[in-house]
C-alpha cells in the first residue's frame, strides 16, 4: 500500500512533463480538427431545410440553433428491422436519399448499421437518443426525436439576425457532409440556395 503510494508520487522531470502534457493538450484539439476536416473533405453531401433560432453559448459565442424538418423528428412508422433489446441510450441509423426538390429525404430508420447501399443513398447515425419501449407493442409509434451534432451554427457576434429573418420565410437550407461512419458535419448554410457562409476545411 505504502509502496504503491510512493510509486504514484514519483515526480516526473519537468521537461518530460512538458513533452507529455504538450502532446495531449496539442494533440487532442489537433486530432479533433483533422477528424472534422476529413468529413468536410470526403463526406457525402445532402441538403436539409431548417428553422433556426438565436441563443448564446458562454464558451463559444453566438449561434443559431437549427432544427431540421426532415430528420429532427422522424416518423416512427419508418422504423425497419430489429428493435433495441433494452431501454437505454441508442444510436439509430437513418437511410437518406435526395428527394425531387433536391432536399434530403428519410427512407428508413434502423437500429443496426444499414448494409447494401443503393446508389444515391447516404447513411447517417444519430446521437444517443432515449429509447423506451412503449408497452408491449412491437411497432414504434409516434415521432422519434433525434439529434446529430449539427443543431448549432456559430456566427460572428451579432450576425445571427440575417439567418433568423430568413428563417421566418422558411428559406434557410443547410448542406451537410456525412462520413462513411455516419458522422455529420455542416458544410454550408444557405438562404434561397445561395451559400451564406462556406465552411473552409480549417
Amino acid at each position: 500500500m505504502r509502496a504503491l503510494g510512493q510509486l504514484l508520487r514519483r515526480e516526473i522531470h519537468p521537461v518530460l512533463a512538458l513533452l507529455l502534457a504538450g502532446c495531449v493538450l496539442i494533440g487532442l484539439p489537433g486530432w479533433m480538427i483533422l477528424d472534422r476536416a476529413a468529413i468536410l473533405r470526403n463526406g457525402a453531401e445532402i441538403v436539409f431545410k431548417t428553422a433556426p433560432v438565436d441563443p448564446r453559448d458562454l464558451m463559444r459565442g453566438d449561434y443559431v440553433r437549427l432544427r431540421y424538418e426532415e430528420i429532427s423528428n422522424v416518423d416512427g412508422s419508418l422504423f425497419k428491422g430489429e428493435l433495441p433489446a433494452h431501454d437505454g441510450p441508442v444510436r439509430l441509423w437513418l437511410t437518406l436519399h435526395d428527394g425531387e426538390d433536391g432536399l434530403g429525404v428519410v427512407k428508413a430508420v434502423s437500429l443496426n448499421t444499414p448494409v447494401n447501399r443503393a446508389p444515391g443513398e447516404i447513411f447517417l447515425r444519430s446521437n444517443p437518443t432515449r429509447w423506451t419501449r412503449s408497452g408491449s407493442s412491437e411497432a414504434v409509434a409516434g415521432q422519434l426525436s433525434l439529434s446529430f451534432g449539427i443543431e448549432r451554427y456559430y456566427v460572428p457576434e451579432g450576425e445571427g439576425l440575417e439567418i433568423e429573418a430568413a428563417r421566418n420565410q422558411q428559406r434557410t437550407t443547410v448542406a451537410v457532409r456525412i462520413s462513411d461512419k455516419g458522422d455529420a458535419q455542416i458544410a454550408r448554410i444557405m438562404i434561397d440556395g445561395k451559400a451564406l457562409y462556406e465552411e473552409p476545411l480549417y
Binding site: 503510494g5 508520487r9 519537468p14 502534457a21 464558451m59 446521437n127 456559430y154
Partner: protein, 371 residues
C-alpha cells in the same frame, strides 16, 4: 486563519508562563518558514492567470472574423506551448507558484482551444464530450507536473462532466436506463482525480475526488438499480464511520482515527438518514417517533464515539440532533397544542438539549484532561 489562532494561543501560553517570550517568537518563525504556501503574491499570480485565460476564452467566444480561423488555432496552440514551457522553466527554477499560475492559464487556453474546434465545426450536443476532453487535459497536466492547482481544476471539471453526462445525476430526469460505458468512464475519471490529488498532495482535490465518487455512486444507484440513493448514502456513511472510528487501525493505515474518513461517514450517515426520513413519508405517530429515535440515537452515538476528537463531527452531530428534535417537536406537539404552547414547549426542549450538550461537552473535557 491557523496562524492567527496559533499566535493567539502562543500569546496565551507566554502570559501563563508556559513559554518564554523568545521561544514563542521562535515557534512562530518556524511555522512561517514551513508554511509559505499561500502568500499574497502567489494568490495574485493565480488570479492574474485566471483573468488572462478568461480573456482568451472571451476572444474565442466573440468569433471575431478579423482573425482568420487558422490564426486563432495557432494563437491558442502558442499559448498552450508557451504556458507549459514557462511552467517547466519555473519548476526547474523552483518557482512553484509561478508554475501553478502558468498551468492554470494553460488549462484555460486548452479549454478555449477545444471550444474553438467546436465553434469552427459547429458541433452541438457535445457538452459531455467537451467537458471530458477538458478534464482529461487537466488530469494530464496535474499528473505530469504534480500540480495541486491543476488537480483542483481537474476535480471541478470532472464534477462538471459528471453532472452534464448524467443529466443532474439522473435525479431530475425522468429517464432511467443503464449506460454501462458512461459509468465506467465516470469511475475511471474519479480514480484519475484521486491519483492527481495524491500526486500533488492537494487536500482540496482529494475532497473533490471524494465528492465525485459519491456523486457517481448516487448516479449509478439512481439509474441502474432499484436502490434508493438515500439508503445507499446512509449505508456508505455507516461503513465509513465504522472503518474510521471503530476498527482497530494498523500503524501504516492511510487515514487517522476519527479523522477525515470518520467525518465523511458521520455526515453521510446522518444526512442519508435525514433524506430517508424526508423520502419515506411515514404518517403514523409511532413510526415517526421510532425513526426520530433512530436518528437521535445515531447522532448521540456518533458524538460519543468521535465527537471528542473531531470538531467537525461534533458540530455536525449537534446540528443533526437539533434538526431532528425540532422536527419531532413540530410533528407531535404542534397538532396537540396551540402555537403559544408549541413555542413554549419548543423553548423547553431546546433548553433541555442545551443542558444535555453541556454535560456531554464537560465529559469530553474531563476525558481530555485525563489522557
Amino acid at each position: 486563519m491557523l496562524r492567527r489562532y496559533l499566535s493567539r494561543e502562543i500569546e496565551e501560553w507566554i502570559r501563563g508562563g508556559l513559554l518564554d517570550a523568545g521561544q514563542g517568537a521562535a515557534l512562530l518563525r518556524d511555522h512561517d518558514r514551513r508554511h509559505t504556501g499561500l502568500n499574497l503574491s502567489s494568490v495574485l499570480a493565480v488570479l492574474a492567470a485566471v483573468l488572462f485565460g478568461a480573456a482568451v476564452i472571451a476572444l474565442v467566444a466573440a468569433n471575431w472574423e478579423l482573425i482568420a480561423r487558422p490564426l486563432r488555432v495557432a494563437m491558442i496552440l502558442v499559448f498552450i506551448i508557451g504556458g507549459l514551457s514557462g511552467a517547466t522553466f519555473a519548476v526547474l527554477r523552483n518557482a512553484h507558484w509561478i508554475a501553478e499560475a502558468l498551468l492554470v492559464f494553460t488549462l484555460l487556453c486548452f479549454g478555449a482551444g477545444v471550444a474553438l474546434v467546436g465553434q469552427m465545426y459547429h458541433l452541438s450536443g457535445d457538452e459531455a464530450a467537451f467537458m471530458l476532453s477538458w478534464t482529461i487535459g487537466a488530469l494530464v497536466v496535474s499528473v505530469t507536473y504534480s500540480s495541486p492547482m491543476a488537480a483542483i481544476s481537474a476535480g471541478l471539471l470532472a464534477l462538471g462532466y459528471l453532472f452534464t453526462v448524467s443529466d443532474g445525476l439522473g435525479i431530475f430526469s425522468s429517464w432511467h436506463g443503464p449506460d454501462l460505458a458512461g459509468y465506467i468512464v465516470a469511475l475511471v475519471v474519479t480514480a484519475a482525480v484521486g491519483v492527481a490529488a495524491w500526486r500533488s498532495r492537494s487536500v482540496m482535490a482529494g475532497h473533490l475526488g471524494a465528492v465525485m465518487l459519491l456523486c457517481a455512486v448516487v448516479w449509478i444507484a439512481e439509474e441502474a438499480t432499484e436502490l434508493n440513493p438515500s439508503y445507499l448514502l446512509a449505508a456508505i456513511g455507516a461503513v465509513a464511520f465504522a472503518a474510521g472510528s471503530l476498527m482497530p487501525l494498523q500503524s501504516d493505515a492511510p487515514f487517522s482515527r476519527h479523522g477525515t474518513l470518520s467525518a465523511y461517514g458521520a455526515v453521510l450517515l446522518l444526512g442519508g438518514l435525514g433524506m430517508v426520513q424526508a423520502d419515506a413519508e411515514i404518517t403514523s405517530l409511532p413510526g415517526i417517533m421510532a425513526f426520530a429515535a433512530l436518528v437521535l440515537g445515531t447522532s448521540v452515538g456518533v458524538l460519543v464515539v468521535a465527537g471528542g476528537e473531531n470538531r467537525l463531527i461534533r458540530r455536525f452531530a449537534y446540528f443533526a440532533f437539533s434538526c431532528e428534535t425540532i422536527y419531532i417537536v413540530g410533528e407531535t406537539l404542534g397538532s396537540l397544542l396551540g402555537s403559544a404552547g408549541f413555542l413554549f414547549f419548543g423553548g423547553l426542549v431546546l433548553a433541555a438539549m442545551a443542558y444535555a450538550m453541556m454535560r456531554l461537552e464537560k465529559r469530553f473535557k474531563k476525558e481530555g484532561v485525563q489522557t
